[in-house]
Amino acid sequence: MGMKINAEYAEESAQQIVDAAAARWSGTSLHAEVRHHKSGMKLPYVFINCPKNHWRAVAKWLRFEMGADHCSMITGTHWPEGPDEKKWEVVAHLMRMNVINPPERGGWTEQVIRDPAILQDDDVPMEFEISISIPDTRNPSVQSVQEVWMGADWNEKETWDLVGIEFDGHEGMRRVLQPHDTPVGFHPLQKEHKIRYHDAEIMYDDTQGFGRKPADDGKVK
């Protein structure tokens, strides 16, 4: 048995989501489109450029109407050299897993075995990539979606810990990967923090290492 999803049905399903987004969010600057991976994954995915102030509403719409029931990853990027309206970016990756609670019979749950070849419309597993731009600010923040997906909880904790983007309405925010006594305001993935050799091409031109000096030479013990 080959486990193959019909590519045409997947394409149709992605287009349906894009059409639904255009109808539901027509008054905002939200933009949705069907995209394809350049290599690797074979099926299309839905890319959504979401305005910052609508993120929680869009998330609820995706979760409860479009069936995106799995929050795969929420991450952030600092773009200090980027355009003014996109100095920070939050990217969310969602999946439509289509989990129907397994039917119960005699105290046991039945397996839900479906033939991937006949999945259509809302049943096709789908990926979503949502990009939220944040304009130039020292205190970037977006709305938290912790209450929509519990899985977003630790993703948001990590994004705040490492990138420094705050999530409004997130309960119990704390350092997760860095030590608890890390100075307030220190977020290592912001671009002003550089590790040794960050901008040094000499690492590759001078393979023997003669004349190699780290960028912070003399400053670090």
């Binding site: 193959k4 290599s39 990027t77 990217v91 397994p102 105290g107 749950t109 839900v112 990926e127 590759y204």
Partner: protein, 378 residues
Amino acid sequence: MAEMWISMGPQHPMTHGLWTLKVKVDGETVVDTIPDLGYIHRGVEKICESRDFTKITTYCDRLCYASANTWAHSYIYAAEDLLEVEVPARAEHIRVIAVELQRIASHLIWLGAYCPDIGNLTAFVWCLREREMMMDLLQELGGSRMHYNFPRIGGVKRDLPIGFAMRARAKLNLFLDRIQETEQMLDESTVFLVRTQGVGYAKPEEMVNYGVTGPNVRAGGVNYDIRWAHPYSVYDELDWEVSVERPSIKGADSYDRYRVRVDEMRQSARMCLDALDKMPGGAETHYTEGDPMILTKARERAEEGKTGFHHFEDSRGESMFYLAGGGEQRGKHPYRISIRSPMFITIPYAAKCMIGHKVADIPAIMGSFDPCIGETDR
């Protein structure tokens, strides 16, 4: 009785790594838990920002010491998505074999580490003996025993060695026999059944909401696997079935999570055997223009604002790499690299599963989720 907090870890056999589980107990019963991670945070994401696209594979290998190959492949697919690289069919088949052998090895080291936790030391020796066969095969492919650095952007390091297919078939068939022995031993072991059955119930819809993936969620009867739902490589052409468990209505317990992993090892062996049969001939295992050409093209192909990502079925769940290109300015380096670790999301949920159980059940519950702290802390 007064409630009190107990710190399990960072040095505790239950943790399978370096982290702390703070447990609030009322007598013998767990009433609250707080996981505390980050003890071996190495800043891989930051380090990778100043490395070439081709040099990052080495770091990804070291994310998980038990499952190095899956993590390296996970990165390579994302990099190929960003750099728009085509991969020859033969290389894809070799990749499937490498990843599935690694998955068997990873599940075996999990079973080997889990059974001594709950009082069955024999399984440890048996599992390591069988894992040795997989390690030998992987060593033939990658040249080392733990960190193979096997995949390349656009292909694999080298073609299959002479006679590999023959040896792989023999060892996989032997493995399929031997895993039956191990399974019989565990299924007839009263100690194993008593410790695993009826502890750590996890509801399917709750697991999905918390972002739990992989064998843990399939143990709850959820038929979801990246390999069929979002197909990549040649998984949609191979002969296999998703391993899904049939749990009780209370949810998946530790025993279900053990069952689904044993079945997954069988499916992986089946996939490897099928990939060996279906592999196209020839010696085309690499993108014709090779690694150096990819790097020189990185400046224009990975322009600023362009991203590449890939969801990957790791041994522990859905791993994912998200890459952002930096264009002319960053040259051959990615601008941002972000890693989704399946265990980072699963550990908080696993900690919730313990609430209501006895303190003595904690190792039996935590171990069944297969934690790996290398990838969790990154």
